[in-house]
C-alpha cells in the first residue's frame, strides 16, 4: 500500500515536472526517461534471459537514424515510432540469428563487433552525414498537434514510457518471461525439458532490440540529431552500467540506474571535469561491493521485498 502511494507520487511528480522546473532539468528528466527505456530493453536480455549484449547500441542507433531520416520526409507518428521500431526489429532478427548460436564471452564479443560494424557504416556513409551524423531532426506532430514544445514532448514521452514499461512488464510476467528466466538459470535443463531455447532467445533479442530502436528514435527527437556515436560499443556499455547500477532483473531498477547515471554525470560534470573518473570509480566499486546494484543493496539493508 505504502509502495503504491509512493509510486503514484513519483509518477505525478515526473508528469508535472515541466510545470515547475526550468528547461534544463526538464530536458535532463526526458533524457533519463529515454535512456530508461533503452536500459529496460537491455535488461530484458541481460537480467531475464542472461544474454549480456554489447551490441544493443546497434538498435538504438538504427532507431535513431531511421527515425531521423523518416521524420525529415514526413513528421508523423509512423516516421517517429513505427518505422524505427520496425527497422530495429529487422536488425535484431539478423544480428540475433548469428549471435544467439554462441554464448558467454563469444556472445559479448560478437554483439560488440556487430554494433561496431554499424558504427563503421554510419561513420563513412556520406548520405548518413558521416562523422557529423544527421542534424535538424524535427519532432513529429500528432493529429496536427506539434510536439515541438517541451511540455507537449513531455506528455508524448510519458505515454510512450508508460506503454513501453507496461509492455515489457507484461512480457517478463508472462509464461514467455518465465521461460526466459529458466534459460537464464539453466539453459541445458530448459533444452532437456523440451523448450526450443534458441527460438525463445531470438524472440527476446528481437523484442529487446525493437524497444531499443524506439528509444533511439525518441533520443533523436529529443536532441534533434543523431551521430555515429549512438552505435559505439561504449553506448551499450553505458546502458549496461545503468542496468547494473539499478540492479539486474528489475525493470524499475533500470529506470533508477538510468536516473543515477545521468544525474551523476550531469552533477559531477558541473563541479569538475573529472566526471569520467568518478563515474568509472563508482562503477568499479559498485561491481566489487554491491553486485546487486542499488535496488539489491536497498533490499539487503532496508528490507524492501522483491
Amino acid at each position: 500500500m505504502a509502495r503504491g502511494v509512493g509510486f503514484a507520487t513519483l509518477v505525478a511528480i515526473v508528469a508535472a515536472f515541466p510545470l515547475f522546473a526550468g528547461n534544463y532539468p526538464v530536458k535532463l528528466l526526458q533524457e533519463i526517461l529515454i535512456w530508461g527505456i533503452f536500459a529496460m530493453s537491455l535488461d530484458l536480455l541481460m537480467g531475464y534471459a542472461g544474454m549480456v549484449s554489447f551490441g544493443h547500441s546497434a538498435f538504438f542507433g538504427i532507431g535513431g537514424y531511421v527515425g531521423a531520416l523518416a521524420l525529415v520526409t514526413s513528421p508523423g507518428l509512423v516516421s517517429a515510432l513505427l518505422l524505427p521500431a520496425l527497422a530495429a526489429a529487422v536488425g535484431a532478427l539478423v544480428i540475433g540469428f548469428f549471435s544467439i548460436r554462441v554464448s558467454g564471452v563469444y556472445f559479448i564479443m560478437l554483439t560488440l563487433a556487430f554494433s561496431q560494424m554499424f558504427y563503421a557504416v554510419a561513420f563513412q556513409a556520406a548520405w548518413l552525414g558521416a562523422e557529423d551524423g544527421l542534424v535538424g531532426v524535427p519532432r513529429p506532430a500528432v493529429l496536427g498537434w506539434s510536439l515541438a514544445s517541451p511540455a507537449a514532448f513531455h506528455v508524448y514521452l510519458l505515454v510512450l514510457v508508460g506503454f513501453s514499461t507496461l509492455f515489457l512488464w507484461r512480457i517478463v510476467r508472462s509464461p514467455f518471461g518465465h521461460v526466459l528466466r529458466g534459460i537464464h538459470d539453466n539453459e541445458g535443463r530448459m533444452e532437456a525439458v523440451g523448450y526450443p531455447v534458441n527460438r525463445y532467445k531470438l524472440l527476446a533479442f528481437v523484442i529487446g532490440g525493437t524497444v531499443a530502436g524506439l528509444a533511439g528514435s525518441l533520443y533523436a527527437q529529443l536532441v534533434g540529431s543523431i551521430s555515429p556515436d549512438a552505435f559505439l560499443w561504449t553506448t551499450s556499455g553505458e546502458a549496461l552500467l545503468m542496468v547494473i547500477i539499478g540492479g539486474t532483473g528489475t525493470l524499475g531498477g533500470s529506470m533508477l540506474g538510468a536516473a543515477a547515471f545521468i544525474l551523476l554525470q550531469s552533477m559531477v560534470s558541473s563541479y569538475t571535469e573529472r566526471w569520467m573518473l568518478i563515474l568509472g570509480l563508482t562503477f568499479v566499486l559498485l561491481v566489487l561491493f554491491a553486485p546487486g546494484g542499488i535496488l539489491g543493496a536497498l533490499r539487503g539493508r532496508v528490507g524492501i521485498r522483491s
Binding site: 554462441v102 563469444y106 563487433a113 557504416v121 569520467m276 573518473l277 568509472g280 570509480l281 568499479v284 566489487l288
Partner: protein
Amino acid sequence: MAFVPDFFGQALNGLAYGVLLFLLSVGLTLIFGMLDIVNLAHGSYYMLGAYAGLTLIAVTGNFWLALLVAPLAVALIGAAIERTCLRPLYRRGPLDQVLLTFGLIYVFEDLVKWIWSGRIRSIPTPALFSGSVTIFGATIPSYRLFVIVFGLAIAVALWALIEKTRLGAIIRAGVFDSEMTAGMGINIDRVFTGVFAFGAALAGLSGVIAGPIQSAYPPMGASILVPALIVVVVGGLGSLKGSLAGSLIIGQAETFGKVWLPGASMLMIYVVMALILLFRPQGLFGRALK
C-alpha cells in the same frame, strides 16, 4: 601506375599494423585463456604504454629506454589491478568482470586526460629509423621495418617461452585447466598475476612502438580494443597461433581496405570476421564450441 611496388608497400604497412595487433591480442587471448576474463580495459594498457613512453622520451630523450621501462611500468599497474580488482571476481560470472573492466576504461582514460591533457600527442621516431628504404621499388619508412622485425622477434620469443620452457608449460596447463594446474601444486595465484601483468606489458609495449606511427590520444584504448577483440575472435579464444594468424589477416584487411575501398574501409575487418565465423564459428585455431 606501379602496381607491384604499391602492393608490396601496402602489404608491409599491413604487416606492421598486424604485428601491433598481435602484441595486443596475444595478451588479451592469454588473459582470457588463463583467467577466463575478457579484459575490456586491455586497450587502456596500450594507451598507458604510449603515454608512459611519451613522457620517458621527453625526460630522457631515449626511445630505447622508453621501450624498456614503459612496458614495465604498465606491467606494475596491471599487476595491481589484477590483485585489487579482478581477484575478488574470479568466482563470479563473466558479467561482473566485463563490467568492472569497462569501468576501468573510464578511469584510465580520464586519468590520462588529467595527467597529459586531451590533445593528440605524437611520439618522435627514433633517430636511427627516421629515414626510409626502397625495396622492390617501394619506399618504406625504416621505422615500419623495425616494427615488423621487432614484433616478429617478440612473437618468436613468446613461442619459445610458451612451448619450450617450464614456465610456458605451466601457462599452457593453466589455459587448458587452471583448477587442475592448481591441484598439481602450482601457485596459480602468482601465475595469474604474472600472466595478467605480462599481457599488460605487451599491450604497453605495442603502445610505445605504435606511438611514432599513430600518435597518442585519450580514447585510443577504447578504439584499438575492437580490432584486437576481432583478432581474438577470428583466431580463436585462448590460442597463441590464432592470435598471430588473426593479427596478420586483420592487419592486411584493414590496410588493403583503405586502398581498395576507401569509402567502406572500416567495414573490411568485419566482413573478414563474418566470413571466417560463418565457416569456423570457433575461430581459426579455436577449440570446438561447447
